[in-house]
Amino acid sequence: MSTQDPNKPCLTRRRVMMGVPLAGAAVLGVGFWKMLSGMQQGSFNPHDINAPVLNRPVPDFTLPDQTPGQGFATQDLKALTKPILVNFFASWCIPCLAEMPTLMALKDDLELWGIAYKDRPENAAKFLQHSGNPFTRLGSDRDGRVGIEWGISGVPETFLIGPGGIIRWHSATPLEVETIRQTLIPLLAKLKTP
């Protein structure tokens, strides 16, 4: 260690000029690292389109029955006392087909309500016969108008509805086991113990 001149001030101009950019770079580095690790864990998504629905009540809508289930409306979601998932799907959507096994595995732990988006009722019914039906209730959004009310930009999209019909979480990508374990289950635990 070098011995310092006691008369020399510790905070010289030279040190400040060196330190300020270094500190700035460190702050930026930590920020970017947080964003990147958030993207990997799924807690930060820069492509997330509709965050505005979060923590708001479900929109006004009424859906007719979609075989083999019974349709539902805003009041049914507002009357909920436990959290459920609302999933928009379509028989013409390949990612929805890929998502079905995950939903089938989830249905015993969390109730799922389905909305067939811009789909012929007979095609949606056949799709559910083929892939299995994880949904307790099923509505048909034939012209996609209810989808617009919910602010969806495609299928599949999933919303977590808390008690009282408040939208608590949203995913615009197919549900994966990882997402369920890392995001959905902790959220559910939080909703059950307010």
């Binding site: 389109i49 509709n50 505005p52 996609g144 108008r145 617009i148 009310e149 919910w150 602010g151 930009s153």
Partner: protein, 168 residues
């Protein structure tokens, strides 16, 4: 043609201008063509239709993300075009229709972001950074000019030497 030799300079000029206008219109046409696939989508009232197109060209197609809903032929864009036209026909203001869209899809649906504290800060950042830099440069320059490097005072020895030299 037998007429080609009898052209006056004036008709030739007119032909060149016509050709230029036609040629340019080939390049301009795609900008004017909107993706309204089906004429039945359009409102019968041309004024209302123009308004609907103006609103739609400010709304992002969320499927393609870099096109307006008027330019896109995606299914969702078509549905949103229909929604805009319904609201226009109902007599809602542009502002009301924009708010309706933003309530469902967030500010991301607006192709031109609104003025807010965040966007004002974002857009004024180059000017702010320039002013900050100029200010720093100005103050450091002034401080340097105000404290000129004064030579240390002469010691007794030097004074004596100087006196001796000036005497000679």
């Amino acid at each position: 043609m037998s007429h080609s030799t009898g052209q006056t300079p004036r008709t030739r000029l007119r032909r060149i201008v016509t050709a230029l206008v036609l040629g340019l219109s080939v390049f301009l046409a795609p900008a004017l063509v909107l993706a309204v696939d089906d004429p039945s989508e359009m409102l019968p009232d041309t004024k209302q239709e123009a308004r609907a197109e103006a609103i739609g060209s400010q709304l992002r197609c969320l499927v393609c993300q870099n096109e307006s809903i008027e330019d896109s032929s995606a299914g969702l864009a078509r549905d949103l075009r229909r929604v805009v036209r319904e609201h226009v026909a109902k007599g809602e203001t542009d502002h009301q229709i924009m708010d309706w869209m933003v309530a469902r899809y967030g500010n991301f649906i607006r192709l031109s972001p609104p003025l807010s504290v965040g966007t004002i800060l974002l857009w004024s950042m180059p000017v702010l950074a320039l002013l900050l830099g100029l200010g720093l440069a100005f103050f450091s320059y002034r401080r340097r000019a105000a404290t000129p490097v004064a030579p240390p005072p002469l010691s007794e020895e030097e004074k004596a030497r100087l006196a001796k030299l000036t005497k000679e």
